[in-house]
Symmetry: C2
Subunit: 143 residues, 2 copies
Amino acid sequence: MRPTARKIASVLTQKGYKLTAQRRAVIDVVVSSSEHLAPAALYERVRRTHPAIGLVTVYRTLEMLSELGLICRVHRGGKSRSYTLALLGHHHHLVCSRCGTVADFTGCDLEELQQRLSQDTGFKIEGHLLQFVGDCRNCQGVT
Amino acid sequence: MRPTARKIASVLTQKGYKLTAQRRAVIDVVVSSSEHLAPAALYERVRRTHPAIGLVTVYRTLEMLSELGLICRVHRGGKSRSYTLALLGHHHHLVCSRCGTVADFTGCDLEELQQRLSQDTGFKIEGHLLQFVGDCRNCQGVT
DNA sequence: CTGGTAAATGAAAATCCTTTTCAGTTAGAT
DNA sequence: ATCTAACTGAAAAGGATTTTCATTTACCAG
Ligand SMILES: [Zn+2]
Ligand SMILES: [Zn+2]
Ligand SMILES: [Zn+2]
Ligand SMILES: [Zn+2]
């Protein structure tokens, strides 16, 4: 089930972060939107209700939420990052290379491979990055 | 076995690319180094033997070699990209989050998952991005 | 309720990495 | 040797993110 803004706010205070109006505003937007949003896009939305907020603060808040595991990040090569609520627990993304639409999926099932690599290389593996790239239904057939 | 500079050069001419001194220089550096190099680092090395080369040309050459599948790219979050000789065919990377060391591995075995996702989402999947992140043997235990 | 204080903010500047532009150069075909 | 499209490099533009620093604010203690 979707975390509420309230729930997220309480995590912040528990961790010793201050609960500012700006952070609330960012959290509200994240919670109420289903898309993955780039910092700039999120900034635009937040400004509707909180016109004085700075883009820097949006960056900082996203960074913080991401470190707390409350939002997750989509990696897009050189292009800008984007974030969405981490509602699924551990999951990954399928990204449309044309329009940028993101679909989530769970069940990456990489533990076995991770084991093998750990043994073969001596790396202490801490995480993985998995993403599929392709054309979404809408973008197929479009030149 | 490692592709030679000569072999790579011949691929270029076969594909209709001109074989310039600059491209030769970039290829030589790529072939003779085992690390994954960022464009800027590669530029520095190339300059030792070819001081007049421009960073832009390094970027362009790397892009070209990458598209031909002759070198492969490591993805590093927001940070700069980096490349190394593509000796393994289809493979992925294990990246040390501290020093940046990269180990290659093959056998990602994602076809089944890819099938499933394709059916579930309607995406026409064209590729995947897989990378493990951790601490390499050397960096473990270092604060 | 007051402070007091460390944390947080925002504007601007600074960094970085990468791409674009464009005028001049050159590889390689004829 | 000539020709031309491909290639090059300097500089500028672009874009995203980070740093800096003076100002403001949340929240704990009193
Ligand atoms: Zn699409
Ligand atoms: Zn996973
Ligand atoms: Zn590789
Ligand atoms: Zn390391």
